[in-house]
C-alpha cells in the first residue's frame, strides 16, 4: 500500500472509514440480536421485566468483553502467522494478486 499517491490514499481512507462504520453497525446489530435471542423468551407482557433488563445488561457487557478478547487473540494469531512465513494471515492464501 505504500505506492499510493496522496489522492489514492485519501480515497482508500474513505473506503476504510465506510467499512469501519459498517463494521460497527454490524457489531451493534449482532449484539442486539444475541442479547434479545438469549434473554427475551416471555411474551406475556409487552415491556421488559426486571429480570430481562438485568439479563440484557449483563449480556451486553459480556458480549463486548468477549469480542474484545477474541479480537486481541485474533490479531495475535494473525500476526504470528504472517511472521511465521506460512500460509499468511487468515485470508492471505486467497485473494489479491
Amino acid at each position: 500500500m505504500d505506492s499510493l499517491s496522496s489522492s489514492e490514499q485519501r480515497e482508500f481512507q474513505s473506503v476504510l472509514e465506510k467499512r469501519q462504520t459498517r463494521d460497527m453497525m454490524q457489531f451493534y446489530s449482532n449484539l442486539v440480536q444475541r442479547c434479545f435471542d438469549d434473554c427475551i423468551n416471555d411474551f406475556t407482557s409487552k415491556a421488559l421485566s426486571t429480570k430481562e433488563e438485568t439479563c440484557v445488561s449483563r449480556c451486553v457487557d459480556k458480549f463486548i468483553k468477549t469480542s474484545d478478547r477474541l479480537g486481541q487473540r485474533f490479531a495475535e494469531q494473525n500476526q504470528a502467522m504472517m511472521q511465521g512465513g506460512g500460509a499468511g494471515g487468515a485470508g492471505a492464501g486467497f485473494g489479491g494478486r
Binding site: 465506510k18 453497525m25 451493534y28 446489530s29 411474551f43 406475556t44 409487552k46 421488559l48 440484557v56
Partner: protein
C-alpha cells in the same frame, strides 16, 4: 468516482447518498433480524393453519415491542462505551 476534479457536486451527493443508504441498510438489517427472531419465538413449525391465531398475533406484537426495548438498552450501553472503543480503534488506522 473520478479524480480529475469535475467539481464539488459529485462528492457531496455521494456522501449524502452513502449516509442515507447506510441508514436504510441498517434499518433493513434490523427488521430482517427482528423477523427471524420473532418468527422463531412466536410461530410453531408444524403449520396447522395458514392464518395467524390470536396467541401468535399478540406474541408477535410484544416481540417487536421488546426487540425495540433491547435495541434502546444496547444503544445506551454502547453510547457510554463508544468513546473508549473509538479511541482504541483510532490509533490502529492506516497512516497517511
Amino acid at each position: 468516482m473520478s479524480f480529475l476534479g469535475f467539481g464539488k457536486r459529485e462528492p457531496t451527493l455521494a456522501e449524502k447518498m452513502a449516509a442515507a443508504e447506510q441508514e436504510l441498510e441498517m434499518i433493513t438489517d434490523m427488521f430482517n433480524r427482528l423477523t427471524r427472531s420473532c418468527h422463531n419465538k412466536c410461530i410453531p413449525t408444524d403449520y396447522k393453519e395458514a392464518d395467524l391465531n390470536k396467541g401468535e398475533s399478540v406474541c408477535l406484537d410484544r416481540c417487536v415491542s421488546k426487540f425495540f426495548d433491547v435495541n434502546i438498552k444496547v444503544s445506551e450501553a454502547m453510547q457510554s462505551q463508544s468513546q473508549a472503543m473509538r479511541g482504541a480503534q483510532g490509533s490502529s488506522g492506516f497512516g497517511a
